[in-house]
Each structure stands twice: as C-alpha cells, then as structure tokens.
Symmetry: C2
Subunit: 396 residues, 2 copies
C-alpha cells in the first residue's frame, strides 16, 4: 500500500500553537495580567434570532413523522440556492440555480476543488495568505508559485507581481484578504480576469469576507468584473457573514460558461459533490436561508457593524500613531507593519510583555508576512478599546 | 489549465433516474394504481426525542452570548468522541479518543480517504456494492479489480473470490452489505484481515449498517477481529443508526497502530481533515451524542425494530415462496434472485405492472447484480404488508 507521498512535503504549522504556548507561559509568570486577545480569527457574537428561530422550526420538522426529511439534494435545497441567488442579485450578479452548490463551508470546497483539476497544473498563490491554499496544493502535488504582496502594492499583488514568468493554470485570490484585510478594486481584479483568460487559467476566488465590503465601488464578488464567468469559481461562506463558523455552511459558484477543453467545470464539480458529499444538514440550510431573508440580513448587519466598529477603532489608533497598515475598513483584519522594522515574533513578544495584548505574527502566513502583524476585530468592544489605549501608550 | 482526466472515465449511473422515469410513466398510464415503493434507501421515521431535545438546547446555546460556540475541533468535540468510544466499548472494542474522527458522514469520508493514499494503488472492490467505492477510485485513477459475490458465496466474497491474482493494496468491505444485506461472520472477516496483513494492504471497512446486527456472534465492527487494528480503517454513520441521512454525521476510526512505511495513517488522516475540513455543526454533534446516550440508544432501537420488522416480513414472504435471497435479518436490505432467471430490469417491469410495487434492479450495483433485485425495509409497515401480499399472490 502506497501512501500519498506529497503529505511528506507539508511543513507543520506551529503558528497558533506557538502563540498559545507563549501566552500560557506569560500567564503563569504574570498571573495578575489582564491579557486581551486580538488574535481571534473566529466570530464571537451569537447567531441572529431569525436564524435560530428557523433552526428550531427545522428541528421540530425532523421530529415529526409527516414533516421528517431524509437525504437532502447533494447541491442543496432549492430554497437555499434561491436565497443565495437573491443575495447575488443584490450585487447585480445574475446566477442560475444550477451554478450554486451548497456545502459545509468554504474551507472544504477550497481544498476539494483540486479534485477536479489535474495534478500537473501550475498554481499561483498570494504570499502572504490563508495557509490552506498552499497546503492543499502540496497535498495534490501541483507546482506552486507565488504572487508577492508587500508595502509597494499594499499587499494586493497583480499579475506583474508574480515570482517568475511561465505558465499559470490556477490562480488563487482572496478579497477582502485574510490575513491582510486588503480589498482589490475593480481595475485590479480586471487585470487578473484578463490575465486568466489570456493564459487559459482558472481563478479560484475566496469571497469568505465579502459581507465586510460596504463600498459599492469595491467588488464583493469577482462576477462583478466582465469576463469573470468565463474564468472564475467563487467560494462563499456563512461563517463570517452570519457567524456560522461552528454551524458549517458555505456555497461555491461554478458558472455554466466555465469550460476547458470543451468540458463543463460546473458538471465536473457537480459530479464530484454528488459522489463524495451528501449535502448539508436540513437544519443548517434552513438557518442559512433565514440569514439571507430580509429580516436575517438586517440582524446580521448589526453583528457585522459591531465587528467593523472594532476594526475602525484599531485602524484609527494606528493612523494616529503613524503605523503603516492595510485593512480595517472592509475587513475584520488589520495588517500592520511592525514598528522599528521589528520581526513578527519580536513584536509579538514585546506587545504581550508591554501591553498584555495578543496578536498573530505575520510570518505565519507566508515569507512575505515577516515584519508584519495581524490584529482582528472579532473581540469584545470594551477589550478592543482597552487594548488600543495600551498600544497607544506604548507606541506614543 | 488541465482537468482531472479520470473524470472522463466515469460511467454515468442512470439507476435511480431510470427507476423514477419508469414509475412516473406507469403512474400516468395507470392513475388509479396504488404504487408502493420498496426501493427507498433512505430512513423515513422521525428523529428520536432525545436527539431533537439536545438539538433544541444546542440552538439555544448558539443564540446566547455566553454560550455561543465558534469553530469546533476539526475531528469533533470530545463529548461526541467520548460517546463514540463508549458505543465501541459496548462491542468490546477499546478505542483511544484520537482514533475517532467525527465527520459529516461516511460517504464523504469513504471518498476523501483516498486523498492520503497514492494514486498508483491496486484496489479490490466487491461486486455488487455501493457504487461510490468504484466511482471515487476512478476519479483517483487507481487500478480497480473486483471480489465477486454470487449465489455460490451468498454474496460474501472472501480472498479466493477475487478476479485474478496480483498485488492488492486497498480492500473495500461493506458489512452488513449494501445492496445485498449479507453479513460477514468472524471467520470470513478473519480471512480478509489475514489476507490484508499478508499483502501489506489496508482494509476500508464500511460499517454504516452496523446497528442492524443483533446477533453478538456476528461482528458489527472489524475491530472485533484480531489483527484488524493493524490493517483496517472503519467508517461509521449516524445515518441509518439514528436517522441522520438529512442531518449528516459520521465518524471514521483510524487506529494508531495502522502504519505503512513507518508513517502513521492516523496522523495523515488528521492532517487531511484539519486542512480540508472544518468540523461538524455543534448542533449536529450534540444531537449525535444524545443518540448514543442510554436514553437515545433506547429510542433509536425502537426505530431500528420498526425497520427490522419490515425486513422480517419481506424475508419470511420470500422464504415461503421459495425465492432465494440474502439479507433481511441484520440489515434493512433484502437481495433476491429474480424468479425464473429473469433479468433485473425485466423483473422490475413485471413487479411494477403486476403488483404496483417498486424495487431496485440489482444490475445497477455492479455486473454481478444482474438477475438480482433489492427490496428495502425503510417504508411504512402497512404498505410493506400490502406489497408482500401482492407479491405472494403473483408468485404463488
């Protein structure tokens, strides 16, 4: 029996466990310290009432003989695909129901999508970025190159910022970005769409943070860019939109006009999902549909506003201090340049010791993250305010 | 961009859509017919009270600020892994918590497990069987051979029943079997374990129907066989046990003692899941744990008894009629030889026309299923009784 030898090429990530260990050790030596974490990448506010009410109803349906539901359609119930279609219509994007595949989350789909592509593709991944893109490609055995983010391009690499020339087949984009919080504008995304079409490449667009975009001039879907339906798949999530990190629901859009060698990518993904996946919990799907109802959208926006207030507070503090950063406006993430050219982990130690505030060293998101640092807006507002006062005192 | 060309080798299955079309056409030409389906592969009874009560509580927790839960551990909450560990202890099987991986269902895991193995393995799959095994292997590009089921071995192939000699790396087993309902005894499973160890092969044991086994002398887990922890992965499901087909929860057991080339398969699967999966809904996990509680197990057994009564009724009718069959005792499936050496689809047509009863042609589960027919016990009891009276009248 032969194992997949690509797994041996994975580099273990110790980012979050190293953070935990350092915090725990500090806590033991400073039991009196009021430690505040701005490193949380997870939502903290409870589910919206519209959502939990729909979920209670769904549980009741499953407990009644006449209303019980068995297997769901693998690509999701039409009531949820309808709701997602309506959500896209609000962005001016027309989708056919068969282009929307409901799943247990964007992370699963981001990894599983590689099943339908050959292992011999050349893949372009931003650096720094969410580590799952690189790890899943290593597992698949593709050839990975990087598009380089940095201060020069505000961590929004465009085609000219790639490592070297040569064939590109699969292009990952994440906007609003994790970890940098940076958001592509229409012209930048148009460059990527044109580049993908010219190279007969496919764009995998991670839109998990789209709900944080509150400027209609900024794209919150790649399908707002001409030509994208001929070259892009988009991953969407209820995790950050509706607080579903622990509930698990997302959806992936695969346009019918996306074809390679005369083969429909939509049909391939449908075949993958109907063979290796069996749909999402009815309860979850009912909750997700309620999140996209008019009442649900209103309630969800209250939660998003809470997180965005935190982000503003962090961003405004950094602006006053003259610290370089991206994000903080259309994103829950703030990505700052460590003061005095410090390295990521040195700044982590300094911040923990001097202010008892915990963040995430940027180096953990890729080599280009060295010297940068991620703060997140998912915490309690009073704690964020306290943390900012301490950071302002330290850096003034 | 290169697609995964293996997808082009998949054969489209028209089994269930062909069944639906024939039934619909019959219904239109016979609007008065009282059609009864014994083709359902899905549960029909509502969730147990213990389960829905736990789910309501979990929804309430997610709606409160102090009790909200975000990301779950990728391999599941310990409370559910504990419950699964306790369920195995009832079978006399000791598992470590880290050997239990909670997932969104056995179907996902059965397909995804191939990620951690090389594409150059030789795979042995029973014929006939659940079509997902073959399709996921075609997608992965492995070399598939068959172990042949038939009347001679009661559709329980052992190592000598394989297509031809040659290296075998991965061996699929499903017991109680879908579609045949046949259950391996200890001696037969021991043959497979010995064969796997002798060939340095791995067994993928699908135990989705284990809860239907009610004879302690029959194995309901491969780990009841000596040596299995050195060669087998087991897939478990709440779908048929607790009626979770629409709720989605399963778990996969990967023993720590399962190693190839000095590499821990448990660690590889853990890495796969933490990279490409993000855990199961908290609500679902709470419901699943309640299903394995003493109260939940009692309630679930009531549902299983209902289905098993249906199965007995079908089996007893066939016995009286002298029709050859497997299953019906420790399984919701009954697999019968079509009378008068009829072909599967011919018997389907005859049964529909003469009795208005719908079943599933065995040919759809593999070439060796030709001439056989599957009936299922998931229907309403009164309808099953009516269907059996009609079949008895037809075949007497």
């Amino acid at each position: 029996m032969r194992l997949n030898t690509n797994y041996g090429k994975l580099v273990d990530s110790y980012l979050f466990s190293a953070v935990s260990k350092k915090v725990e050790s500090f806590r033991q030596s400073h039991p009196e310290a009021d430690i505040i974490s701005l490193g949380i990448g997870d939502v903290t506010l409870p589910l919206a009432k519209a959502v939990t009410s729909a979920m209670h109803n769904a549980v009741d349906e499953l407990s009644g003989a006449a209303t019980f539901k068995g297997y769901s359609p693998e690509a999701g119930y039409d009531f949820l695909r309808d709701a997602a279609q309506g959500y896209y219509a609000l962005k001016g994007v027309d989708l056919d129901l068969c282009e929307i595949f409901i799943s247990d989350g964007a992370k699963s789909d981001c990894g599983n999508i590689l099943d339908i592509f050959g292992a011999n593709n050349n893949v372009l991944i931003p650096n720094p970025v969410y580590p799952v893109y690189v790890d899943t490609n290593i597992m698949r055995g593709t050839n990975v190159r990087y598009s380089n983010g940095g201060v020069n391009n505000n961590f929004l690499p465009v085609p000219r910022d790639t490592d070297s020339s040569g064939a590109v087949d699969i292009i990952y984009l994440c906007s609003p970005n994790n970890p940098t919080g940076a958001v592509y504008d229409r012209l930048q995304l148009k460059q990527w769409v044109d580049y993908a079409i010219a190279n007969q490449a496919i764009i995998l667009f991670d839109a998990a943070y789209e709900a944080f975009v509150s400027d209609d001039n900024l794209p919150s879907s790649i399908y707002q860019i001409d030509g994208a339906k001929e070259c892009a798949i988009e991953f969407c999530s209820f995790s950050k939109t509706a607080g579903f990190t622990g509930v698990r629901c997302g959806y992936t859009v695969v346009p019918q006009s996306l074809n390679f060698d005369g083969i429909s990518v939509n049909k391939l993904w449908g075949r993958r999902q109907s063979t290796k996946f069996n749909g999402v919990s009815y309860i979850t799907q009912k909750g997700a549909a309620a999140a996209l109802s008019p009442e649900g959208l209103k309630q969800i926006k209250d939660n998003l506003r809470y997180y965005k207030n935190n982000a503003s507070l962090i961003a405004n503090t950094l602006t006053r201090l003259g610290v370089w950063y991206t994000g903080g406006t259309h994103s829950p993430y703030i990505w700052l340049k460590c003061p005095n050219n410090m390295k990521s982990w040195d700044f982590f130690d300094l911040l923990l010791q001097k202010t008892n505030v915990v963040g995430t060293p940027g180096e953990g998101f890729g080599a280009n993250g060295e010297g940068f640092f991620r703060l997140t807006a998912f915490g309690n507002h009073e704690n964020v305010a306290k943390a900012m006062q301490r950071i302002e005192r330290m850096l003034s």
